[in-house]
Every structure is written in C-alpha cells, then in structure tokens.
C-alpha cells in the first residue's frame, strides 16, 4: 500500500510537471492588468488583443455570433471592447486561448473533440442559467464552464496510464469516474484543474468554481457560481453534449439546485436557448483541434 502511495502523484507534482508545458499566454496577464489599471483606456486593451491575430479573429466571430446576438455588426475589436465590456472580453479571451494551450493530448486517452464539445456546452448552459438568474458578467460563467474539466487534460498528459486504469476501475466497479479518481489518488480532476488555474492567477470566481464543480457545497466564496457549473455539467452529461472522462451522469447536489431557486419548467427554456449556440461556438473556439 505504501509503495503504491509513494508512486502516486500529488496535485502539486502534476501542476509542477505541466507548468512549463501548459503556460497561460502572456497576453492574459497584460490584459488583466490593463483592465484593472485606472488610467488605461479601451485602446490599450485593443492593442493587446490585436497582437494575437487568431484571438482577435475568434473574438470578433464570437461577438457577432448568436451567443451575443448583438444589435449591430461588431466590426472592430475596439467596438467589441465597448459593447461587450472589458472584463467580459478578458474572460472570452481566456476561454478561447486556453483551448489552444492543450494541444497534443493523445486521442486514445481522451477524444479532444468530444471533450471540448462537452466543455463548451457546459459553458454555454452555465451562461444561459446565469442570464436567467440575471447575474452580472455572464462570461465568467462561460469561461468557468469551458475550463471546468481542465484537470482531466493535465492528468491525461502527465499520468495517461493511471487515467486509463481509473477509467477501467470506474466502469468495472460501476462507480463515478471522479469518485474513482478520489479513491485511487486521494484527489480528483476538479482539484487539479483548480490548482492549475490558481497557478495561472485566474480570478477566484473561476478557480473556486472549477475546483468544486462536483461538490459545490464546499465553495465558500462563490457558491452560486459553483452550483451553476455543477448543474450545467450534469445537464450536458445527461443531454450527451460531448463527453469528458466521466462516463456517466454525475450525482446532483440537491442544495445546488435549491440555491438557484429556479422553477423546473425553466430547464426546457434554457436548453432551447443553449442548444443552437453550441455548434457555432464550438466551431469558433475549437477551430483546428
């Protein structure tokens, strides 16, 4: 037992080993600082974004997509900054660039297309839920949804054999994947993902949400956000909008549902609003994967 334990990775070891491989693009830090700088202006932000041609193009495509349903054509980054909002733009930029970071994960461990399909769907459903809840800055829900299973990617890269074993065990024991993870490693992918985002200095509203998306009752600072992602994840699993390493529908936390204080009848409306957005948003963000 102890020998096994010795060989077992820790969250920290996993993050350490990927820090150099998967680093947050530099622009994010600059963008974040600029946004928070009292003297910076829209044009400063524009300058940072247009440095990355691919990012600029994706942002413009997103701004004009049904996700925003903007009242007029957004033909410049500066316009997108004013009408979408700086923080919102920053979150969108984060979501759209992180996907590019995790390239080269072997398909036999995890299907990337299916993975991002699930993640982006979760982001969209979470965003819709937040819109219904009249939450301020719904893009952070979007980015949290997109990034919620990012821990799985790290594990697939660092410990692909273990991941396969966890998966087998989970299926054989008829147990949830994230619970099997915990049983075998004493931690699960959500904690790994949270740790990575923390190391990237991503705001706590996103980090904490990702960390506790399976157990939202532990989210102390942002319980509502965690609850929203928790539910969005379950919705996407049950609707089979893509797949993550989880092979069945995770258990729902009743408290999370109650926290939303939402009539059940709203679910169908939210699904109706979310589903048409998935394909286009996926094609913008996951281009070239």
């Amino acid at each position: 037992m102890s020998t096994i334990r010795k060989n077992l990775p820790t969250i920290q070891s996993l993050i350490e080993s990927t820090r150099t491989v998967y680093s947050l693009p530099l622009f994010y830090e600059r963008l974040n600082e600029t946004i928070n700088h009292p003297r910076s202006s829209v044009s400063d932000i524009v300058k940072i974004i247009i440095d990355d041609q691919g990012l600029s193009a994706r942002i413009l495509r997103l701004a004009n997509s049904p996700l925003f349903g903007c009242y007029s054509k957004v033909d410049s980054i500066s316009k997108s900054v004013t009408i979408i909002g700086t923080q919102q733009l920053r979150d969108l930029a984060l979501a759209s660039s992180v996907i590019k970071v995790f390239k080269g994960i072997p398909e036999d461990v995890l299907s990337m297309t299916s993975f991002w399909q699930h993640s982006i769907s979760c982001g969209i459903v979470a965003r819709c839920l937040a819109t219904y809840l009249r939450e301020n800055n719904v893009e952070r829900f979007f980015v949290s949804g997109v990034l919620h299973d990012v821990g799985q990617l790290i594990m697939c890269t660092t410990i692909p054999d273990l991941v396969k074993q966890i998966r087998e065990n989970s299926v054989n024991n008829d147990k949830l994947y994230y619970k099997t993870e915990f049983e075998m490693l004493q931690f699960n992918h959500s904690q790994v993902g949270g740790a990575l985002l923390q190391s990237w200095k991503i705001p706590a509203s996103i980090t904490e949400t990702v960390t506790w998306h399976h157990t939202p009752r532990f989210a102390k600072q942002f319980p509502l956000e965690a609850a929203v992602i928790h539910l969005a994840d379950i919705i996407c699993h049950s609707m089979q909008f893509g797949h993550s390493a989880e092979w069945c529908v995770p258990k729902m936390d009743e408290n999370a549902w109650e926290r939303l204080n939402m009539p059940v009848s709203m679910l169908s409306t939210i699904l109706k609003q979310s589903e048409p957005l998935i394909h286009e948003t996926f094609s913008i963000l996951a281009e070239g994967i």
Binding site: E33, N36, P38, Y71, K79, T131, R134
Partner: protein, 860 residues
C-alpha cells in the same frame, strides 16, 4: 520569452512604474470599496423612499459620486412594455437625454442592453458615449439607467467602477420591487379594510332588517294569536258549557250566538290572512271586467254601513263632475281597498262624517287614473307611524290592536292591490283630528257601458232632494241628472219651501221627493210643510243603514225607504215604483226577504249532509220549498222530472261534480227551452274557479261557509226580487222577520203564540223552551234597564231597550215589543222621565206576558 524575463532582473524604471501602477490601482479600488461600504446614506434614502421617483433620485446621486456623467437619468419600465424617463440628474437636459435614449431604442442597442446585466457602452458620434445599465431584479426589469459620458471618460477602462455601478443598480432594482410590493400590500390592506367595513355595514343593516322583520312577525303572531284565541276561546268555552248540559234555553241560545259570532270573526280573520298570502305569493290576478263607479263605491260601503250607523257616523261619497263612471278594471279589488279604508275610518272615528271623494287625475285615450280620497275625523295617526302602517303586520301602535282589533293586514293588502293596479297609496294625518287616505289606480274606460244614462221613463221629470249633507245632495243630483231627471235640492224642508215658491212644479202630476229620515216629522205633522207644495209630494225616505225604521210610521203613509249609501239602479227603481204608484213593490223593495213574498222551489245539491241540513234549515225558515240531492247525478235525475226556481250546486262532489252536472243540465234545457239559475257552492274562492263555474253554465257563485244574508241576497238577485237592504242592517235576522210578520197583525196581542209556533216550523213542543229562554233573558234585561235608567245613562238605556225589543219580537210578545220600542225612542230623545214611566208600563206588561204564557211555562 517568459523564461527569458525571469532570468533577467527587471529594469528600475519598470519596477518604479510597476509600483506606481499597483499603488494607484490599490487606491482606486479602496476608494470604490469605501464608496460602496459607506453608502449608508444611499440605503437610508432607499428605505425612506415611498415611490419610484425618490428611489431613482437617490440612485442618480449615488451614481454621480462614481462616474462623471454629462447627463444621466432613470427610465421606469411601464406595464405596457414602454419606458418612461422618470428621473433626471437635471431637468435641463431631460429632453436631450430622451432623444438619445429614443435613438438607442430605434437602433436596437437599448433592447440589447436590457439583456446584459452590466454596463453597456454605446458610442455617440466622436465625442460621447451612452452608458446603459438595466435595473432588474431576477423576476423582472424595473427600469434602465442611461448616462452620457464624454469620450475621454468612457475610454478609461475602470472595471471596478463598472462593477460598483452594477451593485448600485442591483440595489436600486430591489428597492423598487420592495416599494411596489409595499404599496400593493398597502392597497390590499386598505381594500380589505374597506371591504370589511362595507361588509360590516351590510351585515349591520341586514341584521337590523332581519330584526325588524322578525319583530314585525312576532308582533303579528302575537296579534294573530290574540285575535284567534279570543274567538276560539268563545267557541271552545261555550261549546264546553253546552256539552256539560244543565243550561237554560236562554243561555243555550246565548252561548250559541257567541259561538256563531266568534266563528264569523275567525272567518274574517282567515280571509284576511288568505288574501294577504295570496297577494304575497303573487297568486292574485287582477280581473278585467266592466263596472260602474258609483255601484262599486256603494257596494264597498255596504258592509260597513251598519257599523257606521251604529256609531252615528255619516258615510258619504262624491264623484267629481265629468268623471267617467263606466270603467274596466278589478272591481273587487277597488271595493276591497275602499272597504278597508272606510272600515278603518269607521273603526277609528266616533264622530263626524267619513267622506270618499273620487276624481280623475289623468285621462289618456282609453286609460284613466282615478284618485280616491277617504277622509275621517278619527283619532288620527302619529307622524312617525305614517310610513309604517302600510307595512305588513303593522298598526300605528301595537296597543291599538287591543282597542280596535283587526289583523293589521288590511292596509298591507290595500297597498299591494293598489300597486298591482298601477297606483300608489299614502296617508296624511293629524293626531286627534283625523286621517286622509289617498290612493290612485289605473283603469280602462268602458266604451259600451252596460248601464247607460240613456233617457228612461223618468226623463224630464222634476224631483226634489232634501238632505242636510251636501255630499249626499251632490251625489243624488248627479245620479238623477243622469237618469234624465231635473233635480232640485234643499238642505232642509224649510229651505224647500222657498223652492216651492220660486220654481214651477206644475208640470208634474206628483213631485217625487227624496227626504232625509231625520226630517220625517215634517211629514208626520198633519199640516204645514207637506201642504205647502203646489203638487202632491211622493216622499221617499233616505235612511242611514243601521237606523232602525219604525215600520208603523212607515205603514201609515206607505212611504218607501232608500238606504244610504245609494245605488243608482236602486234609486231609479224606487222612484219608478213611487211615481207609478206600485206601492207594494216599493215596500217590498225596502223590507223584502219576506217569507211570504214568494215561495221558491229550490234544489240543493251537496255530498255533505251537514251542508244540506244547513241549507235546508235556512231556506225553509224563509218559507221556501227545498229538495235535497246528494250528488250531481241525483240532482240531474230530480231536475229531469221537476222544475225548480233555483239550484244550489256544490262544485266538488263524488260520482259527478257540480260543473259536469250543470253542463248536462244546460244541454237538457236546450230541448225544453228553459233555464234554471244554478248557483255554485264552493270553498275555493279564486277567480279561475269562478270562471270555471261560469264556463260550465252556472249563474252565480257562493263561498262556503255562507251566511244567511248571502243566501238571501242570492235568492233576491236570481229570482228578480229587489234587493233587501234592511236585512244587512241588522244581524238579528229573526227579529226582522218577526217585525215583518207582525206588520200584518191588526191588533197587538200580549203573546202571539201562533206566530211563534209557525216560526218554529209547527213544532209546538219547542214553545215552552223558547218562552222560558225569553223570560230568563227578560229578567236580566229588565234589571239592567232599571239600573241604567236610575243611573241616567241614555245610551245604555237605549241599548237595553233595544235588546228587549228584539227578544220580544222574536218570541211574539208584541206589547212588550211596542213598549220597548217607545222606550228606545224616548232614550234616544234623552227623555228619561218618559223612559221611567214607560219602564213601569213595561214591568206590568212583563207580568201579563208571564201570566199569558203561563200554561207554556208550567208545561215546561
């Protein structure tokens, strides 16, 4: 690249710049945090705010601390989906701001901003930007903030400030929601309070109404109970006494009379209650039949005439000249109302005249509205009772019931009848001075009256009317003129003398004269007044019903009597009789109902033996020949062989009912070309039953239980004997007959035993019983008379003398009768001296009667 930077120590300038940036960011964020945490003022204002305007105003103040807006304002979301600019940073730019918002609404940016829960910046040309922020709770959008920023200010990305803005608007939206909910709550509370108050008031008034109605019902029940108990008490008590036996004949008769009177009172009561409940249940349908106004009124007054006469009240009526008198309507209803009103007037008055005035209020095509006025000089009604007396079960004062009796239903019935006739009823009254009842009713004019004033046999004849009552003179003149006669009127015989001088009566063979009974002395005097007339006068006396007529005086000059209130038809008949000299008919007309006048063959059909016996007893008593049948079939069998003058037919009978029997009879008669009058006897009094009877071929209708007088009326009516009015003037019918029979005796005897035997139907064995009864009564009556003469009470003396007179007439004690009569007259004249001497004579006569009737008493 990042690895490279980490390796190299950063340049000093970079670090300085970095520190400055961090410090500045820190300060800015602390400032905003301070602003948010120290916004107690804002929250205080929100909690005090009573309406959306004050909430928007404090929100704008708070926003102004955060960002330098050129213009700003809050738009409120209205129920119809539009947005109104409710509050502005300054009114000066309200219009300009509105324009900017309008264009944002036009290009869709406004709608887009509604769905983004964050600041949305929209460029306005080169210089400015519009910042929109929705003000919404989770449940609904309450408004939108619109602010105009300079380009420079808008270009500064201040995320913390934008987040702070969102917080402010979020707070604002919940304040708005609270205010709305609070005012809704307030409204609901107010509404509820109002409802509660309203319900309380309604309940209170309903409770009062229920209590009033309940009290009225209780009072009514108490009255009814009293009214019913009194006669029931009489019936039961007397019946018990009779059953116990050992009662003298006199007492027996007395008890039976009490039973009869009590039962009649009960009958009246029950009729009233039935009438009323029928009206209440809407079961009474107004009849639509032609009638004559004067006949109607005199018929209405007839039932109460006797009572009025006893109280010395004059009943008079007048109809305004030109008032149409041939009408179509519910004659019975009007009669009932008039009888009720005039009956009340009689009940509640003890002096003066009771006058009925009628005039036309409105006449349109063939419709007419008549106004009736019934006035008296009675006790009057207190003002506070005027409204109530028309209500059910109400009398002006429940204590009046004890004094005057009555069910209190009369006026309620009248009111409902009047309303059914499209009129209204009201009363004016002064306590102790009298009351005036008014009512109006709608009628149709009868274009072809059955009785018309077409020139008759009396046309062109002059006639004299002497009556001190102007009302009476007026009515008589009207009637007489309509008959084509030329009336001359005088208030007194003395006044008539001047007429004799002034007017030329020579054209008349005789001058018919209607003379009020009170002036009869002028005629009794051998000379003077009567001789002053240029032509012989033919006197017709006008008497008040209830006045006892001295037939002896009447017999001497054979002047006919006409009883007031006057019926035009009777008047015509009596004048014709008078002027054509057919005196016997005239006497009959006023004293009719005489057993010897006409013997009728009458068939009575009823399945109940008691009814047959009763009818037989009554009819044979008046000398008619009676045949009995127990069913319609039996009646038809008898009718097939025998001819009858009149048939009384019960409607409900087994085997063959009265209606069917009558139908068959009429078919039978078609062959023999005859028609026997058939009168229905039934307990059902509804108009439709009456119609059924008429439809079956019956001629008349009599309600059970019937009274002797009603049967006599029918006999007279259907056998062409002129109406008998003296009968209705007295309840003591046998006395009347006695008087009539006595009329034919040449000399008065002490004891007309033969007459008594005849009246008893030849049963001599009954004579001692009756004589004993008489003597027993006499003993008491004589004592009473003596006492009252001693106590100098004229009216009491009169009453006792009257009673003795009646008893004496019944038994055939003619001398006692005559003396009692004279005594009554002297009491009326308040001559007690004469009364006292007459009393002595009466005592002697009493003694001689006792000895005269000795054998009968001993025989007992």
């Amino acid at each position: 690249m990042s690895n490279m930077e980490k390796l190299k120590p950063p340049a000093l300038e970079y670090l300085v710049e970095r520190v400055e940036f961090l410090e500045e960011t820190n300060r800015r964020q602390i400032a905003i945090l301070d602003m948010l945490t120290s916004s107690g003022d804002y929250h205080g204002e929100l909690s005090r705010a009573k309406d959306s305007f004050s909430i928007f105003r404090s929100t704008l103040d708070q926003v102004g601390r955060l960002m330098p807006f050129q213009m700003m304002g809050c738009l409120e979301s209205m129920d119809d989906g539009s947005f109104d600019l409710k509050a502005c940073g300054s009114e000066e730019y309200a219009e300009a701001l509105q324009e900017i918002v309008d264009s944002a609404i036009m290009d869709g940016s406004f709608a887009w901003a509604l769905n983004r829960n964050q600041s949305v910046l929209i460029p306005l040309g080169e210089e400015r930007s519009l910042l929109l922020h929705v003000i919404a709770t989770r449940s609904r959008i309450r408004g939108v903030f619109a602010g105009v920023l300079e380009k420079a200010a808008a270009a500064v990305v201040d995320a913390a400030a934008h987040n702070a803005l969102s917080i402010i608007f979020y707070t604002c939206s919940y304040a708005l929601e609270s205010t709305t909910l609070y005012s809704m709550l307030n409204e609901s509370v107010l509404y509820l309070e109002e409802r509660v108050q309203q319900r309380t008031r309604e309940l209170e008034s309903a409770r009062k109404m229920a209590e009033t109605a309940n009290r009225a019902k209780s009072d009514f029940l108490a009255n009814m109970s009293h009214e019913i108990r009194t006669p029931m008490n009489g019936v039961i008590g007397m019946a018990e006494l009779l059953l116990e036996g050992g009662v003298s004949e006199t007492q027996q008769k007395h008890y039976l009379e009490i039973i009869k009177n009590s039962a009649e009172n009960l009958m009246l009561l029950i009729n009233d209650i039935l009438d009323f409940s029928k009206i209440e249940a809407g079961k009474i349908a107004l009849k639509h039949e032609p009638f004559e106004l004067c006949v109607n009124i005199s018929n209405a007054l007839r039932p109460i005439a006797a009572q009025a006469g006893q109280k010395n009240l004059e009943l008079v009526y007048s109809i305004a000249p030109g008032t149409p008198r041939h009408l179509i309507g519910d004659e019975g209803g009007v009669r009932q109302i008039l009888t009720n009103l005039a009956g009340n007037a009689v009940k509640f008055s003890d002096h003066g005249e009771i006058a009925i005035d009628v005039w036309s209020e409105l006449q349109e095509e063939n419709k007419i509205r008549l106004h009736y006025k019934v006035s008296d000089h009675g006790i009057g009604i207190a003002p506070e009772s005027l409204e109530r007396i028309f209500e059910t079960f109400e009398q002006a004062d429940s204590s009046t019931v004890k004094n005057f009796g009555g069910t209190g239903l009369g006026l309620a019935i009248s009111k409902r009848l009047v309303e059914m006739m499209g009129g209204k009823i009201w009363v004016e009254s002064v306590v102790n001075e009298g009351s005036v009842f008014h009512f109006t009713a709608l009628f149709q004019l009868d274009e072809q009256p059955a009785f018309s004033g077409a020139p008759g046999p009396l046309s062109g004849m002059k006639i004299l009317v002497i009556d001190d009552q102007e009302h009476n003179r007026a009515v008589l003149s009207l009637f007489l003129s309509e008959m084509g006669m030329i009336p001359y009127t005088a208030a007194t015989p003395e006044e008539a003398l001047t007429l004799f001088e002034k007017e030329d009566f020579s054209g008349n063979r005789i001058l018919p004269t209607l003379l009020d009974w009170q002036f009869r002395e002028c005629c009794e005097q051998a000379s003077g007044w009567r001789d002053a007339s240029p032509v012989p006068l033919k006197i017709i006396y006008l008497i008040n019903s209830g006045t006892r007529v001295d037939y002896k005086l009447n017999r001497e000059d054979k002047d006919p009597l006409l009883i007031k209130p006057i019926d035009q038809r009777e008047l015509e008949k009596i004048i014709i009789t008078a002027v054509t000299g057919d005196i016997s008919t005239a006497i009959n007309s006023c004293q009719g109902g005489n057993a010897s006048s006409q013997v009728l063959d009458i068939l009575v059909t009823d399945d109940v033996d008691v009814n047959l016996e009763l009818a037989e007893a009554i009819l044979t008593r008046f000398g008619h020949k009676v045949t009995l049948a127990h069913s319609g079939k039996e009646a038809l069998d008898i009718l097939a062989v025998n001819k009858f003058d009149l048939v009384f037919m019960d409607v409900q009978m087994p085997v063959m009912d009265g209606l069917q029997a009558t139908r068959l009879l009429r078919i039978m008669e078609q062959q023999s070309q005859t028609r026997t009058p058939v009168i229905a006897l039934t307990a059902y009094a509804a108009p439709e039953d009456q119609q059924k009877c008429i439809a079956a071929g019956m001629d008349g209708y009599l309600c059970k239980p019937f009274k002797i007088q009603e049967i006599l009326d029918v006999l007279q009516h259907y056998t062409c004997v002129s109406a008998d009015d003296s009968g209705s003037a007295s309840l003591s019918l046998p006395a009347e007959i006695e008087e009539t029979e006595k009329d034919e005796k040449v000399q008065s005897v002490v004891f007309d035993r033969a007459g008594l035997v005849a009246r008893l139907g030849g049963r001599e064995t009954l004579v001692p019983k009756f004589v004993k009864l008489f003597l027993d009564t006499m003993d008491i009556q004589m004592k009473n008379l003596e006492n009252t003469i001693a106590s100098v009470d004229c009216s009491e003396v009169r009453i006792h003398a009257h009673t003795i007179k009646g008893s004496a007439a019944n038994i055939g004690a003619q001398r006692i009768f005559e003396l009692a009569y004279t005594l009554e007259e002297s009491a009326l004249a308040e001559d007690l001296g004469e009364a006292a001497s007459l009393l002595q004579l009466l005592k002697e006569e009493h003694k001689s009667f006792v000895s005269g009737a000795g054998p009968d008493i001993l025989g007992d």
